[in-house]
């Protein structure tokens, strides 16, 4: 084998560039969180709320500035060498596990970092207006900063452990922020639901992570010819790994990588090392992983599916989507930042980050794409009938996340990441728009009680419309480009598999589901727009306004403060301008900007079927038509709230409406199976605990007590008795002997005299 010749034709190890300031990016939000968490109460009381949000927003701005500096440095490097590394210290070394506190920025994590810090800053600004009446202002901003810190850790960590740490951290912050108004039992329960559901996913994630780590190990043996071979774990199939000048005896050490290649082979948690050894084919790691099977399943498929279970929890995919709609109990800026723009996309980011692993397994790809498509369709259909404006957006988010997973599932990683980016902008706009509406309507979320707000809240209305335009997939707003790229790639992906069976038409099926979901998306988004902003105001009566009227105005909804509208306009602008990053090759003749930017991060080679340019344009037309159909339907049914058709349709199809409105009774299903099952299990275990475990413990206690009593008796009477006896004997002897000491000199003299005489006599007698 000629490793050098092979290496020339394939990717080389990543070249890193040290950038010692990367730690500042997550550090500033952490600092802000710590300051607000510890000093927030006195600061807010003493200096007012301004100080609290100044610290928070200041931390975000600083973080954004440092991230921008890093982005500029990254831009200055040649494309394939764009990788900034900042390792602070080693956190853990045990056996072959080595975990550093290290940050890495490559194009993908850079994109995420920019999204998080930029949109995060804007949402912090929005929160100053939205949360102005909140007494626990400091707590909100401390949580928000802590969330940004965790999210940056997730994105920037250079190994899986840091990513997992951030993964759990954002879960915690999500829980804290959903249950922010914890005095309301329902909201506290929503927080717990999110946390517990996420734990289900995290369990899968950590299993996948450990399995991957295990799979990279295994026994490497040097054969008689000095060739290193890998012994597969079950059937003994051997894969040649390359040559090595190794000790003759076997050794399962990572240092056994080939002498000709500097790539470190073996179990690792570091993304870069993982990427190098899998992407560089001459190491044989990719081939080894592909050949490995576990309980009859392809190991990579199992790893991929397990890792994706983690993504399903965090990114609310079927069937772990139930927490996200309930998460809307949190303050609206939280919904925008965590449950739309950043945290829920962590799963997408994870799949894109580990693209080289997922791309090796057609089964894992098929699984991800199918789950994504099912979720997209399923959540879109629930969105049809919701009345709570935030619920509509929540299901829309679930649905859009499904689209992203279609993208990363079929291998169009950049398209998935691009949809993540555009979605972050337009969904943040939509959520903040809904927040503005809710604030304007005095915390009313039911769209049936809105209507006609377009005149009263012009800025909110127009930004909301722009975002709807983007999400519905009409050209010139960003959503069109990302969604159509995803669906187009799904259509031309023919190498996926389902449970190990090749399924060449799966991509086309997913395309059809995606188009249906896109139609639905357009429909429910415009429905929410028409219900909210057109027609007559159907708001509550005067009494409500009296009890609530903050700021001294009456029942009339009002436009939000300047801070809010400014953020809305900025985000809506971003939702349109992000289109520049993804103008398709069919229009411009060269690859989209973002695809070229992300290319070095996404080394996975995925094959797509070749289709002509005309076909691609035709498919884009289909996408636009889907959006149009949805829009026309929504306009006909809901514009100005005049149409009677919805009511008639509702009466006719009450049964179906009931099922969909109640979210297909998934919550009830969980209630009946998972919750009742776990409660029954808990009750059984409690019984077992009380009667069996406690009984055993009690028995052991009683035995020990008896033994101790016996021991006490022995101690008291035998040991203490002996000691006391010695003391008493010596006392009695002393009592006798002390008689001899009379204190009279003569007595002593007699004694001395007798002694002297006796001495003299003895001397004479003995002689």
């Amino acid at each position: 084998m000629e490793p050098a010749a092979l290496a020339a034709s394939e990717l080389s190890p990543l070249v890193t560039r040290a950038a010692g300031y990367l730690w500042l990016i997550p550090f500033f939000p952490l600092l802000g969180a710590v300051i607000n968490a510890t000093l927030g109460v006195p600061m807010q009381r003493r200096f007012g709320k301004g100080t609290v949000h100044t610290i928070s927003i200041g931390a975000m701005v600083l973080s954004f500035v440092v991230a921008a500096v890093a982005a500029l440095e990254l831009l200055g490097l040649p494309a394939e060498h764009r990788f900034l590394q900042d390792t602070l210290w080693n956190m853990l070394s045990a056996g072959q596990v080595r975990v550093d506190l290290g940050f890495a920025l490559d194009p993908l994590s850079m994109m995420m970092t920019m999204v998080i810090t930029f949109i995060g800053t804007l949402i912090h600004v929005f929160s100053t207006g939205y949360m102005a009446d909140e007494p626990s202002y400091w707590r909100f901003f401390a949580y928000l900063n802590l969330f940004v810190f965790s999210m940056l850790l997730l994105v920037m960590g250079d190994n899986l452990v840091l990513m997992f740490f951030g993964w759990e951290g954002v879960g915690l912050c999500s829980y804290l922020l959903i249950a922010f108004w914890y005095t309301d039992a329902q909201k506290a329960a929503a927080g717990m639901k999110a946390f517990v559901t996420n734990r289900f996913g995290d369990f899968g994630f950590i299993l996948g992570l450990l399995l991957l780590f295990w799979a990279l190990g295994g026994s490497w043996r040097a054969g008689p010819s000095g060739k290193l071979t890998y012994l597969a774990n079950d059937d003994g199939a051997q894969v040649t790994a390359g040559e090595g000048q190794t000790p003759p005896q076997h050794a399962d050490h990572p240092e056994l990588s080939q002498a000709s290649s500097p790539v470190r082979v073996g179990p690792t948690l570091n993304f870069r090392e993982l990427r190098d050894q899998i992407v560089i084919r001459s190491t044989g790691v990719a081939a080894k992983l592909k050949a490995q099977r576990i309980y009859g399943f392809g190991l990579l498929a199992v790893v991929g599916v397990l890792l994706f279970v983690g993504a399903m929890g965090k990114s609310a995919q079927l069937p772990l989507h139930v927490w996200l709609p309930d998460a809307m109990a949190g303050p609206t800026p939280v919904s925008a930042l965590i449950h739309a723009a950043t945290m829920v996309t962590a799963g997408v980011y994870m799949v894109a980050r580990l693209n080289f692993i997922f791309a090796l397994s057609p089964t894992a790809m098929g699984w991800i794409a199918l789950v994504g498509a099912l979720t997209a369709l399923f959540a879109a259909s629930i969105g049809f009938f919701q009345y709570d404006i935030k619920k509509v957006l929540a299901y829309s988010t679930v649905s859009q996340l499904g689209f992203m997973f279609i993208g990363v599932g079929v291998g169009a990683y950049w398209a998935g990441a691009y949809h993540l980016l555009t979605h972050a902008f337009f969904k943040a706009t939509l959520f903040l728009g809904s927040g503005s509406v809710i604030l304007g309507c005095h915390h009313e979320q039911d769209m049936r009680k809105m209507g006609g707000l377009g005149r009263l809240m012009p800025v909110t209305r127009w930004t909301y419309l722009v975002a709807c335009w983007a999400i519905a997939g009409f050209p010139w707003a960003s959503g069109f480009y990302s969604k159509d790229e995803i669906l187009w790639k799904a259509f031309s992906q023919e190498s996926m598999a389902l449970l190990g069976i090749p399924a060449p038409h799966l991509g086309q099926l997913i395309f059809v589901m995606g188009i249906l979901a896109a139609t639905g998306t357009s429909y429910y988004m415009f429905r929410s727009y028409y219900m909210t902003f057109t027609g007559a105001y159907r708001g509550a009566g005067q009494g409500h306004a009296q009890e609530h009227g903050h700021g001294g105005h009456g029942a009339v909804p009002h436009e939000s403060p300047r801070a809010l509208t400014l953020v809305l306009v900025t985000l809506a602008g971003g939702a349109v301008l992000a289109a520049v990053l993804g103008l398709p090759a069919a229009w411009t003749g060269h690859a989209p900007l973002l695809e070229r930017w992300l290319e070095p991060t996404l080394p996975a080679t995925v094959h797509f079927a070749e289709h002509g340019r005309t076909t691609e344009l035709l498919f884009q037309l289909i996408g636009v038509l889907a959006g149009l159909v949805g829009w026309v339907c929504a306009r006909a049914l809901y514009r100005d709230g005049r149409s009677e058709v919805p009511a008639r349709l509702l009466a006719r199809w009450r049964g179906i409406w009931n099922v969909v409105y109640h979210k297909y009774f998934v919550d009830e299903l969980y209630q009946a199976t998972v919750l009742r099952g776990s409660l029954a299990l808990a009750r059984t275990l409690a019984w077992f605990d009380r009667w069996i475990i406690d009984g055993i413990v009690g028995l052991v206690g009683a035995i020990t007590r008896t033994l101790a009593n016996l021991d006490g008796v022995i101690d008291r009477y035998l040991v203490d008795g002996a000691v006391n006896l010695v003391a008493a004997a010596i006392l009695a002897l002393g009592r006798v002997l002390r008689r001899a000491q009379t204190g009279r000199i003569q007595t002593y003299l007699y004694g001395a005299l007798v002694g002297a005489i006796a001495l003299v006599l003895f001397t004479f007698l003995i002689r």
Binding site: R738, R739, Q741, T742, G743, R744, I745, Q746, L749, Y750, L753
Partner: protein, 103 residues
């Protein structure tokens, strides 16, 4: 004039020692006990001088006895001081009553 021999001196010294011991053992007055002690010391002096004259020769015996006389004076001083202290404490110099060290 009868010829004086070593034996005569030794007899006188033994008698002196016997009286001194008798005084120390029997008298209850502390000063008398001290006087007995002086007698014993003088008996020893007599022996030293006699042995120096008749057995060893030279003046070593006389020098020793001079040291003993000085020592006896010092001892008498210390002894009397102790007796004074006892008197101050007990208002008596009866050795039978000075038994505070017993038991």
């Amino acid at each position: 004039m009868p010829h004086l021999a070593l034996g005569h001196f030794l007899v006188v010294a033994a008698l002196l020692f016997g009286f001194g011991l008798l005084a120390v053992v029997t008298r209850r007055n502390a000063v008398a006990v001290l006087m007995g002690v002086e007698l014993i010391l003088n008996a020893a002096n007599l022996n030293l001088v006699a042995f120096g004259r008749y057995v060893a020769g030279g003046i070593a015996g006389q020098v020793f006895s001079l040291f003993v006389i000085v020592l006896a004076a010092a001892e008498a001083a210390v002894g009397l001081a102790i007796i004074l202290a006892i008197y101050q404490m007990l208002r008596s110099i009866d050795t039978a009553r000075a038994t505070t060290l017993k038991e």
